[in-house]
């Protein structure tokens, strides 16, 4: 396959799975789920065996008092107490939820994509990105969660449990990845027609790699030297893409302004576009710009049926070049 920079050359992981954890909290949650399932299954099998024996009628009947006191009271009290104690003990090992001693990243759920904001340690400015949450390995990360329109829910099964994102309220989720990798996440609260295509990827880097990544994301987009890319940059402005999208260094939005569409300053560095819908390359970018509703019907971005071929290709090439 063609070599691309960033995560685009790494094959994307398969769909998210709660059974393959990549961090402490998900391991605890997975263990609890397996334990509870195993206990429930054993009890179910025992009840079915008793039922089968009772139907055969050859066994000596026990007194009702013994049944009620033993199987009705003593057994549940003992078994449930053990399970309660075990789950309480294991749950206490879940990471404390809070932003103390954690790297803070803000994630805003929007219909139907994720805005991700980082703090640039060098300048103190906010860096907006979308649909990928990059984190350093082995470090607590606090995701401050909010929603711009309706209730969404952030769920990265390999790393942590779910947390609702509620308009007008900040919730939070602490997570930690113990090994580098790409973990898929998904909106877990029905939020409209494209809820199913509202995915994101968490990319866990070693600390040094993360620092380098953040520094590169903090850079504004440079004026391209290639005339073909310059034409794409001009097409971006001609098509009024800046009404909804920001490219830092070209179309600076007002500070604190809510952008309608994802920040595209480094869109070419992201593995996918449209919240996990399409891989990022010139072909999909051109197709998406021409008609986003083919891949994601109902999305707010309008189609551009009248754009001429040369401008469309130049625009797609320009966006791909924004690494």
């Amino acid at each position: 396959m063609r070599v691309q920079e960033g995560v685009a050359d790494t094959p994307l992981p398969p769909l998210q799975s709660v059974l393959h954890h990549g961090g402490g909290d998900a391991a605890v949650i997975g263990e609890l789920a397996w334990g509870m399932t195993a206990a429930g299954t054993l009890i179910f099998i025992a009840v079915m065996v008793l039922l089968a024996l009772s139907l055969r009628g050859h066994v000596r009947p026990l007194s009702p008092k013994l049944w009620i006191a033993g199987a009705g009271v003593a057994f549940p009290v003992v078994v449930l107490s053990i399970l309660l104690g075990w789950s309480t003990w294991r749950s206490a090992e879940l990471r404390p939820q809070g932003s103390n001693d954690a790297l803070a990243i803000s994630v805003t759920g929007k219909m139907w994509w994720w805005e991700v904001r980082y703090r640039d340690p060098a300048s103190g400015r906010e860096i907006a990105a979308a649909n990928e949450i990059h984190i350093p390995v082995g470090k607590n990360v606090y995701l401050g969660l909010n929603a711009a329109d309706v209730i969404h829910s952030l769920w990265i099964p390999a790393l942590a449990g779910k947390r609702d994102m509620i308009p007008g309220r900040v919730t939070g989720l602490t997570l930690r990845a113990d090994k580098p990798g790409i973990y898929r996440g998904q909106c877990a609260e029905y939020c409209g027609i494209q809820h199913a295509r509202m995915a994101l990827h968490v990319v866990a880097h070693p600390q040094a790699e993360y620092d380098a990544w953040l520094a590169s994301q903090a850079q504004p987009a440079l004026q391209p030297a290639d005339p073909a890319l310059q034409r794409g940059r001009a097409a971006f402005l001609d098509q009024r893409c800046q009404t909804c999208h920001t490219i830092r260094g070209m179309t600076e939005g007002q500070p604190g302004q809510q952008s309608l569409g994802p920040d595209l300053t480094h869109v070419g560095s992201r593995a996918q576009i449209a919240a996990g819908t399409l891989r990022t390359h010139q072909g999909t970018l051109a197709g998406w710009i021409a008609d986003p509703h083919a891949a994601k019907p109902g999305v707010y971005m309008p189609a551009s049926p009248d754009i001429d071929g040369a401008s469309l290709r130049a625009l797609a090439a320009y966006l791909e070049s924004l690494k």
């Binding site: 010139q282 072909g283 051109a286 197709g287 021409a290 001429d308 797609a316």
Partner: protein, 140 residues
Amino acid sequence: MISTVPSLITRSSIHHRAAPALPAALLVALLAGCGQGGGGLGPPHVRGGDIDTGKRLITQYQCTTCHVIPKVPGPNGESGPSLEHVGRLSYIAGGIPNQADNMVAWLRDPPALKPGTRMPSMGLSEQEARHMAAYLYTLR
């Protein structure tokens, strides 16, 4: 001998059971010759193109963002023409003869063949384009 071929065809196609062995053999040879010729009935052969690899590449490059392509999962977009019967078309891109080499060149660099096209060049290698063309020619 050659001058008798047309009448042999007529005879053998009407009375093929009664046709003697030699004209039947000639007919087979003639029809086989037709198949190998350029404007034949069979799909163009793409040298070094593997159909299954081509299908996988088409899936991976997500060509369905703009095209309807049978048996390839994806959005089945309509920004570009449907490729349901692309292997049966006389021309691609509205005027380029639908031959294997043209198809490969088109997939690699569409604007070079048709400057106003909306289809971008995606940096396919020659080999990738051959695999993809092989799959496209199965769509008839």
